[in-house]
Symmetry: C2
Subunit: 222 residues, 2 copies
């Protein structure tokens, strides 16, 4: 829907290389301006989530806080749930674009778990828990969050296990879903429930005492 | 501190079998009256927790809501954290007084996990998540909740594993702490994060695909 704009003199003298606009939209933006606007919207979303919670947060309030318009927000996100997911995801850091590939299953697992741990610890705890309360009330939000945040992890884990199968370290394909579930659950539980450390010693324990024995069991059982 | 009371005619004509009172306390109570008062305090605690959250909840508000006095509350609980733990624990149902003993490790584990699942599902989700937010802010509360709620589970799990060692089903003592952690974490994660079912099929999966293989691995490795 974006196309090169010929009317560059309309763009308020802002330096740019390419100017893009949507057909029917009168405000022209440089990519940088559009990025800044998106950042402002996502920052406003996170602030409001933390201040008033998901249920009380309105698109009007996000627009006002971001000094943007609702139309601008809806052009990019179909609804509140999707907006929140992008905001939380952005805050969590981008998921690894490509899975680690050290040539060794144990090292790959350690790398994936360290990444998951760092992302989780870097979050605002109250924000995550507030989001969980909202997810428990709102099935639409829950579905959107799960689809995005959980699938990110599932993809990286699946790739690491597929690499190990490819190298002959695992004798058959295994149930990667289960390993994502165990890993996420244990990191989450330590951070929010038991308060036990999430240090590298724990990551090694999780890999050596839980994940590798279970992978070995599954692999040899098939 | 309780002793038999001779002045039964002071007890407002309430039917009773034994009347007890604390030395120095002028109000006499039947055990039933004392129980009702405790119930009112714990109910008020849960209501206020859900309404205003742990941080905003005051002992004054609990006393007012329960039509009790702060002195009465402090006589039984040293502080807000302990009061909250009792209230949440009571709501979760009493922990199994004695661990299941079916004569078979798999059946015992299934029974323990079903009990943990039922207790968790029976809770008010917003209350639990609100408590977690408060625990994240207040290390004193966190310590008290963990010590009580987690140790309950650890005890039952430890007993079930000890029974299996006694019967020769496991060849050596194993790290029961790890099994409590995995089980709690996975139940919790399904309920609050992934929204996946907590049905009996999942309980069997957890026992057959996770706990028993890991127990077997630990047992044979020692």
């Amino acid at each position: 829907m974006r196309e090169r704009n010929d009317c560059v003199h309309f763009v308020f003298g802002v330096p740019y290389e390419t100017v893009s606009f949507r057909i029917g939209v009168t405000v022209l933006e440089t990519p940088r301006r559009s990025e800044l606007r998106e950042e402002a919207i996502l920052r406003a979303t996170l602030e409001l989530l933390a201040e008033v919670g998901y249920d009380q947060m309105t698109m009007d309030a996000v627009a006002a806080r971001a000094q943007s318009s609702k139309a601008t927000i809806y052009r990019k996100w179909p609804g509140k749930a999707e907006l929140v997911v992008t905001a939380v995801r952005r805050r969590a850091g981008n998921p690894a674009k490509s899975p680690p590939d050290t040539g060794n299953l144990r090292e790959d697992l350690l790398a994936v778990l360290r990444l998951m741990r760092n992302n989780l610890v870097g979050q605002d705890a109250a924000l995550i828990l507030g989001l969980m309360i909202a997810m428990h009330r709102d099935q639409g939000l829950a579905g959107t969050v799960r689809a995005q945040l959980i699938d990110d992890k599932r993809e990286v884990f699946g790739a690491v296990i597929a690499q190990a199968v490819g190298r002959g370290e695992l004798s058959a394909s295994v149930d990667d879903t289960m390993f994502v579930e165990i890993s996420s659950a244990m990191l989450f539980s330590r951070l929010f429930v038991t308060g036990e450390p999430l240090d590298d010693a724990f990551i090694r324990h999780l890999v050596d005492a839980v994940l590798l024995p279970l992978l070995d069991h599954q692999s040899s059982a098939r």
